[in-house]
Amino acid sequence: MAFLGSGSRVGGARGPAFGFRFFCYAVLSVILMFYDKKGGWLDTARYGLQAAIYPLQLAVNSPSAAWSWVRESFATREALQKEVDGLRAQLREQQLITMRQAALASENATLRALNHSFPDVIEKRLVGEIINAETSTFRQRLLVNRGGQSTVYKSQPVVTGEGVLGQVFRIGPFSSEVILITDSEHMVPVQVVRSGVRTIALGTGDSNSLDLPYVPQNYDVKEGDLLVTSGLGRVFPFGLPVAKVTKVTRDPTQSLAAIQAAPLARMDSGREVLFIWSRPNHPAAPATSEALNIPVTKPAPKPVPKPARKPAPVATPAATPAPTQPAETTAPAPAAPAPAAPATPAPETATPTQPAPAETPGDDGPEAPPPQPDTGGTR
């Protein structure tokens, strides 16, 4: 900053030239703002600047990192033993849950009249460490120590062991900024596992709550329902757990129910997150814009090296009706209210038997634009 050389000495705080120079800087700032807002070549510049500033970010993180290192180093044997016991118990639970996974997968394939089951939709994962976090009413963001060098890309889903955390918002070479699903500018398309009702979960700015404002009164949503990503919206693959419904208020004078949900991923604690890559052409992969019939207005610039997306070795079996469509494969929808005419241009999916109410006031309605339409940008 101060290396300006003798040039700066010439114009001190005097003279009309000084005001003119201020004017120049102001215009330059406005131009930068305009192009940054618009997105474009400035993304590349920002990418470079992020690299330059990364050492400072690490420096900022160092006190807390040092503190946790010290705490871990001096952890007592009993505490560690307790942690190990806890993890063992957890592992046992998980093993019980996944024990029948293979059998269930093949059963599912049989039910869907496919010749064989699909591999997991998550093709690749990468662990990142949280460097800095902001969880305020304005913004719920994380800074994570993985970036373009690790082939992280813009609008990539980020999860923890419990559920969906958010998506990549900005990237630098060595770091990326993650916008959490609880950010007030973020929305995530979700589906109720029990009834198949699809809607959108809005961030509230509060780490412990999501808002589901677009569910009509007569739709089947109850307290305790599990919400998973619906696969619409082009960011998240189908079926990742998002939240649990905590409160349903039905006011007869309103046409929509007021529903609150609590995110499953803990936002405030935990220092590690997972970046995931979906297998392209998998039925549960995020819907593409072609499948959703959304005209792409802006080809969202991507200055980042895209992740190596080789065609999956397991390519889609010929039996799949439409490989790129999101599969609403679950959704038995036992008592789902008969939907009015499906309002969505969204594909009525691979399973024609699906009676799930195509309840998507916002799935691609006018008020749903936020993160998804331009590959995860948020306004």
Partner: protein, 161 residues
């Protein structure tokens, strides 16, 4: 003598870096709500006591660094514009400010930090994120109150002429 009159460029660079770190240091929410704009404060100081050290370029760069560094900023060059404006106003009347006591200066600093917040707020509104809390306007007051101490501390990093 010539040496003493040289502009304290290294001090400027160093203190601005420190201010950058202070501004984005993760703090508990209640504390970060009242955290004053430390970069702006340091820039005000150097604009008063060493206006020739970096001209307007240094404040602009400091603001830009803050925009990139502070992953919470809405849009690039937001802080750059606000801080450059503050530096410009301060440099224009720095002669008069030098003759004031630190306590008198605090009022000016309070006003400048208010201007800074106002510009940031305005730009955020233009972008479409104009959420605001009353806390936002407490920060300049805290900054003004801290000014005498900050100025004394920064005064030790260079020799006044």
């Amino acid at each position: 003598m010539n040496l003493a009159r040289r502009e304290p460029r290294w001090s400027v660079t160093f203190t601005v870096l420190i201010a950058l770190i202070v501004q984005v240091l993760p703090l508990p929410e209640w504390l970060s709500a009242v955290r004053p704009a430390s970069v702006a404060i340091v820039v005000i100081y150097w604009s008063i006591y060493a206006p020739h050290a970096g001209g307007l370029f240094a404040p602009w760069m400091a603001g830009l660094a803050l925009d990139v560094f502070n992953f919470k900023s809405d849009v690039l060059a937001q802080n750059a514009l606000a801080i450059t404006l503050v530096a410009y106003i301060t440099m224009t009347i720095h002669q008069r400010l030098r003759n004031q006591t630190l306590v008198q200066q605090s009022l000016f600093v309070f006003l400048m930090l208010g201007v800074n917040e106002l510009v940031l707020w305005g730009i955020s509104g233009w972008i479409g994120n104009s959420v605001s809390t009353p806390w936002r306007w407490v920060q300049p007051m805290v900054g003004g109150m801290l000014w005498p101490f900050v100025a004394l501390m920064l005064g030790r990093t260079h020799s006044r002429n």
